[in-house]
Amino acid sequence: MTIPQLNAERPLTDEAVIRVTGIQHSYHTARGPVPALENVDVSAGPKRFVSIVGPSGCGKSTLLMILAGLITPTAGDRYVAGAKVTGPQPDKVAVAFQDACLLPWRSALDNVAFPLELRKDPRAEREARGRELLEKVGLAGYADRYPRELSGGMRQRVAVARALIQRPAVLLMDEPFGALDEQTRMDMGEELLRLWDEIHNTVIFVTHNLAEAVYLSDEVIVMAARPGRVVERVLIDLPRPRPVEITETEKFLHLRNRLWRLIRSQE
């Protein structure tokens, strides 16, 4: 079977909703700068689900924070919808963080509505939209619960709802299901796809779970460590919608193994 491949050096089309080019980034430590990312180009077209995988320390989370505009890279440019930007773009780009990052002193509803509060939307509208989003992620009955009263999976759902309430053109997700047990992780993945079917925006999804990456994505960017760089972009041409059973098909396993070999070959 031949797998269509994208060349990492391929010229970026203006179609890309979000893209970064020529990213260099290094951290300052007592022993001098340590390069974290070297010459990284990443882009995602409209309505694409793109995953970034790689060994720990390859800078995939850093890359996501750069895409989010939360870290200014040492060098390189960032474009959202064709325009060069330097900071966060809350009206276009939303971020779901690794550990849910809920405000512990706010109820689930107030957490979901937080971006609207920052936008100074009227209270009634915030509440209505917040409830709508909570219902969408299956937490309609939990609006008044505090984060500590929710399970890990529920907290992550709240975080996803909070990101989606911004109606973002791009949703950045930093290992959102990394802290969950395997069963919950699978359920969350399935549910994320169902949600995404509805919203159909661009998603960039960082994970270290290869099966998860294959199951969710249209394409997977494979990174290597020391220094962090893009090794290859792999197109995932599995049909959608994708039932869970697809994870048992030969094609799925083939793609997963290919990613596995790519990562192994870099070590």
């Binding site: 924070m65 939360l70 870290i71």
Partner: protein, 281 residues
């Protein structure tokens, strides 16, 4: 997580640095602190001169030192009543606090007493001193009693909480290995509770010092350096007042550092060294 570097709030304590770097930063910190002290002293010398303030209120450092030299023998003479009261009260507060804390901490039936002592923490105990001095006269005895009372409460509370926080599993496993009640006490409870207990001792030590100074300042017949400070204030001898304050501050620094060093040694390097519990007075 390296991603937080750019957005992180500034850390206050020098945590998580590798050993040599922590040492170096500790040394530079000490250097900076000494520099600040030096700056303060220079300001103390210069500001009163530039302001030409009345000498009864604010005097430069050099004038304070001169006043201290003039009054050298009464100041040295006043140190003994203060120091002896602190030492005796320290022993009382520590002994009573540790024993009572142990008894209350290990006995579920006496636990309710912690509620009373906890509530006493909210009471400004200074007002009890006049009562004690009515009962016992304003001399050394009432000073020691008041200071012991002042210092005993944190020692008692921390000891009790230290004993209570000893892991139940630890206790059970020792018992299952056939530890006698005495062995349980000396081999499990005391070593396990020690770090917390020692932090209470430091806290209580600070309070004893505070209490002794307060008594001495309030009662003109009590003797000691606090009484002397009040006397100089009444005579408008500002230089001598400041000199005595410096003497007590120096003593407080030595005492706090000593107790802190003991605390660190007992608790090991892993324990946090910053104090969160403040001392009233």
């Amino acid at each position: 997580m390296s991603t937080v570097d750019e957005v992180r709030g500034r850390p206050v304590a020098d945590v998580a640095l590798p050993e040599p770097e922590r040492d170096r930063s500790r040394r530079t910190l000490l250097g900076w602190r000494l520099a600040v002290v030096a700056l303060l002293l220079v300001c103390w010398e210069l500001v009163p001169r530039l302001m030409s303030a009345p000498s009864a209120f604010i005097v430069p450092l050099s004038a304070s030192l001169r006043a201290g030299a003039d009054q050298w023998s009464p100041i040295v003479g006043s140190l003994w009543p203060t120091l002896s009261a602190i030492l005796v009260a320290l022993v009382f507060a520590w002994l009573v606090g540790i024993v009572a804390g142990f008894v209350i901490g290990t006995s579920p039936r006496l636990r309710f007493l912690l509620l009373i002592f906890g509530a006493l923490y909210a009471v400004p105990l200074v007002v009890v001193y006049p009562l004690i001095s009515v009962w016992l006269g304003p001399g050394q005895v009432s000073k020691v009693l008041f200071a012991s009372l002042y210092g005993v409460i944190p020692v008692l509370l921390t000891t009790a909480s230290g004993v209570r926080s000893v892991d139940e599993g630890l206790r059970r496993s020792a018992q299952s290995m056939g530890a006698s009640p005495r062995q349980l006490l000396t081999k499990v409870l005391i070593p396990a509770a020690l770090p917390v207990v020692v932090s209470g001792l430091r806290l209580g030590g600070g309070l004893v010092l505070i209490a002794v100074i307060v008594c001495e300042m309030l009662a003109s017949t009590s003797g000691g350096i606090g009484t002397l400070i009040t006397a100089y204030r009444v005579q408008f001898n500002a230089g001598a007042v400041y000199f005595c304050i410096l003497v007590v501050l120096a003593f407080a620094l030595v005492m706090d550092q000593t107790l802190g060093a003991i605390e660190r040694r007992v608790a090991g390097d892993a324990a946090k060294t910053t104090r969160t519990q403040p001392t009233p007075g």
